[in-house]
Symmetry: C2
Subunit: 309 residues, 2 copies
Amino acid sequence: MSASFEDIIAQVKALPVKKLSVCVAQDKNVLEACRVALDRGVASPILYGDEDKIRAIADENGISLDGMKICDEKNDDEAALKAVKAVHDGEADMLMKGELPTKSFLKSVLNKEVGLRTGKTLSHVCIFEIPKYKRLLFLTDVAFLPYPTLEDKEQIINYTVKVANACGVKMPKVAPLAAVEVVNPKMPVTVEAAQLTQWNEEGRIKGCIVDGPLSMDLALEPEAAQHKEGALNRKIVGDADILLFPDIHAGNLVYKTIVHMVDNVENGNILMGTKAPVVLTSRSDSVEVKVNSIAVAAVVAENLKSNPW
Amino acid sequence: MSASFEDIIAQVKALPVKKLSVCVAQDKNVLEACRVALDRGVASPILYGDEDKIRAIADENGISLDGMKICDEKNDDEAALKAVKAVHDGEADMLMKGELPTKSFLKSVLNKEVGLRTGKTLSHVCIFEIPKYKRLLFLTDVAFLPYPTLEDKEQIINYTVKVANACGVKMPKVAPLAAVEVVNPKMPVTVEAAQLTQWNEEGRIKGCIVDGPLSMDLALEPEAAQHKEGALNRKIVGDADILLFPDIHAGNLVYKTIVHMVDNVENGNILMGTKAPVVLTSRSDSVEVKVNSIAVAAVVAENLKSNPW
């Protein structure tokens, strides 16, 4: 079972090298991440974008482009479409956003002819490695889908279970979170959490153990289960793998609390529901976060070959 | 400006001693907190409850009851009512929940004849001292009011500003939080956040600086403001004092993430909207949390004398 990004990267190295198609690659941070990914055997980058700008940024920052293929295209939208098409056509295994707005990037990803649509809801999973917590933690959705419906949540669980499986977590424990751990009809999110749990018990949601509604302490802290009545009979007692959030506000606020307040945290993230894995990191994400995300995309790409969405 | 619970306790010591009326005091943790509060000059406890049980628990655990008044009442509901009435009649300055269910406790607090109702919405504020963050952080509402309306949020801000003032924070910065820092009509919480900001600019919400919607990174992390376009022109750039949450799920999940994942955190909390401050800690809260909460109640009690809700 992988418990760190180092474990995931070790897993990736044992696989055939995955090709990473980069949309509009003229960005220092993106080029650095590509260099590290190539050097560490995480991926083989193909850079779509303005070759002059790419080479200038690489020179300025002492980033070697040795071993990377560059496909020159000055127009950003065209470069994005070509990068997406490479994945669509199977010339690359996964896609990464470079120096273009998220909206333009997604427009290319969802292009009807050369894009990566599956007709399914797109959603985002964030993976954390937190020293205090003994396992990888998968959070969803903290960045993409604002108000998932009950059906969206079922889909999101399925996606995240696949990502967890790809990262080596075999039968993940899924905690549909709320402020409380009991169903309260005045709190719709607790009713939905109970429904998801029932669907899991009935075999409709497979490959995982769902137990909700669950409060954050019961999801993460084994000791908390000792203090609360009935908590020790739950399926999750401080050992959740996947945290399913009520909505994007709860998810994003927790995500950023962890990033900014918890020491020595590592993270990575991936967009789900597309034909091939998509790395959708933001400008402010570090090189490390980008490399971690590429590693996750690589194990997911391998996994999708035998188990499409 | 207070930046720690030690500062608040130092403030309390300089005030006339506040009397703390304890509802159903027969609980080890509660008695320990009362002992520490008395020894540290934070409050003078009056224990309502079953005197035999109180003395037995104190004996068993080596807790001295010297200097505490005990009012013997075997019936829990009666003990709760008598404890509340003592505050109602001005014989005590603040109230604390002991060994009885929250529902029964609140029933007494809201009793029409001897209770502490003001006719206003009740709400909860949680105060954190976090080593990484240079100031006290006030979170609301993470535990009591599930889905505050826009008007509730206005009221909650007013309450929390009073608590912050009492703790020595003169002109607190209030961040109405969301997943994003711009208004998006598809996310009602961002529209409400903008309205609260406007009410503050128009002088309807006073004594504080409101700036929302705000994401968690811009609220807490000065560096994040450097990376985001337009963020440096905001009124809050990583220096929020008060975090206003969209709803109880977002608030509670963040609150418990901080408690369980961030090292060396201290916290305390208080119920607002009653005639006198109410300490509503839960069974699982440590003695330290209870003492911190009593200290906050004491400074708020002093403040309410000159500035009622």
